[in-house]
């Protein structure tokens, strides 16, 4: 696997962590919760390599 791919997966995992953390921390805004979950979708597909 080329370095760029490894870097990409690392970035994906980092972003997933950040989004999940923000989702958990969010107390009021349902809008923001939905946005966090929507943005998570492609990142999860990539990390779990679902084609």
């Amino acid at each position: 696997m080329p370095v760029i791919m490894i870097t990409y997966y690392v970035i994906c995992v980092y972003l997933i962590g950040m989004l999940v953390w923000n989702f958990i921390r969010e107390k009021k805004s349902v809008n923001d919760m939905i946005l966090y979950l929507t943005v998570l979708i492609p990142l999860i597909l990539r990390v779990f390599r679902i084609k």
Partner: protein
């Protein structure tokens, strides 16, 4: 559980459900297999990876069929679904594959050239995932693919695609477009490997004619035509003049530009001995200012907005309420291919090709393309391949 966590749980469930339902549709589309029937002329069925091992086991590997005549003669390669959103190509290829009988020479067919593109879609344009062609035994279902290979199979895209070997700068998307990655290289991106595999067929088999079947917008000047480089120009012109005079349809000739690299009609000619021809049939579905991209529109090519544009003389082909049906497009491709073969055989009598049992334009328009497809349920299993 607090109210906040209840909301979060509901949202996660809804998101997972949407993801599962949508994902399942896309997953099914990507893995859907269309049965392809090898007709009486097929003598060998193989894979592109036979010609370039690097493709083995990838989603880019695809079927290659050989129809060899008893007598030696010229060799022709028909490439279809270079762009899988131009499906008149695969339908034409299957008419040849299921029906052709080769008496002299060799016919090689790649019905789904960009296999990854054939398993991709264009949700932003509302592309249907499948379309069906009516036949006498029921409907034959095909995947509707996209112009470029799926990023699931070739990733990441560069900022700019630098064409190999000319180093011309092309759009980043063209790195996944198998009509920009010719002549390809064995260690390049996956789509360059696909075109390299096809170049290997042409070099190893000493192919004389290479035909790449496409479709183009009615608002694009390079439509309803044969694109050919200088060395194939004479045969292309005679083909165009003959189909017009004998079969009554227009199919003008466009010269292949020397300064635009990566296209089949340019690079195949420059990097092999084959004479390349790229066939374009008008495909209203590809135009931008149209109504919804429905399956009906894909098949009948009827659109009220294009009729209005035609009245304003904004289209490059005659267009009215009758649209531009699929049968007409496939019929044109069949006749043009047969005429190219006839003109080539006339010019090079020692490399003649004799192929029969293929319908011409008027027959396809009259009978419909589905008439030429055979029922997989009544076919010997060994003659069925999956695409």
């Amino acid at each position: 559980m607090s109210r906040e966590w209840k909301i979060k749980a509901v949202l996660v469930i809804i998101t997972a459900a949407v993801m599962a339902i949508g994902g399942f549709q896309l997953y099914s589309h990507r893995h859907y297999m269309t049965p392809i029937i090898a007709g009486p002329g097929v003598t060998k069925a193989t894979k592109l990876s036979e010609f370039f091992k690097g493709l083995k086991g990838t989603k880019a590997d695809t079927n290659v069929f050989f129809l060899e005549g008893k007598e030696e003669g010229g060799k022709i390669l028909i490439i279809a679904n270079t762009h899988s959103n131009e499906p008149a190509a695969i339908l034409t290829a299957l008419v040849f594959l299921e029906n052709a009988v080769v008496d002299k020479g060799t016919l090689i067919i790649i019905p789904q050239f960009n296999n990854s593109g054939g398993r991709n879609t264009k949700p932003g344009d509302g592309y249907p995932l499948y379309f069906e062609i009516p036949t006498e035994w029921g409907n034959k279902k095909f995947r509707m693919g996209n112009r470029n290979a799926s990023p699931l199979d070739q990733w990441p895209d560069p900022d700019v695609y630098i064409h190999y070997p000319d180093r011309q700068l092309l759009s980043y998307l063209d790195v996944r477009n198998t009509n920009r990655t010719w002549p390809g290289r064995p260690n390049g991106p996956l789509m360059e490997q696909v075109t390299y595999g096809a170049m290997q067929i042409m070099r190893q088999e000493k192919v004389d004619i290479a035909i790449d079947i496409h479709g183009a917008e009615t608002m694009f000047p390079v439509t309803n035509c044969i694109v050919a480089p200088e060395k194939a120009m004479r045969i292309a012109t005679m083909t165009s003049l003959t189909v017009k005079a004998r079969e009554g349809f227009d199919n003008h000739v466009e010269p292949s530009p020397q300064g635009f690299r990566g296209l089949s009609h340019r690079e195949i000619g420059d990097y092999s001995d084959a004479l390349p021809f790229l066939l374009e049939a008008p495909t209203p579905f590809l135009d931008q200012p149209t109504g919804p991209k429905s399956v009906d529109f894909l098949l009948d090519g009827k659109d009220p907005f294009l009729v209005k544009l035609s009245k304003k003389r904004k289209l490059f082909v005659p267009y009215d309420e009758t649209g531009w049906p699929m049968d007409k497009r496939v019929g044109q491709h069949c006749s043009v291919i047969l005429e190219i073969i006839r003109q080539y055989s006339k010019k090079f009598p020692n490399k003649q090709l004799k192929i029969r049992n293929i319908p011409r334009y008027a027959e396809v328009v009259k009978n419909g393309v589905g008439h030429y497809f055979h029922n997989p349920n009544e076919t010997d299993k060994k003659d069925i391949y999956y695409n």
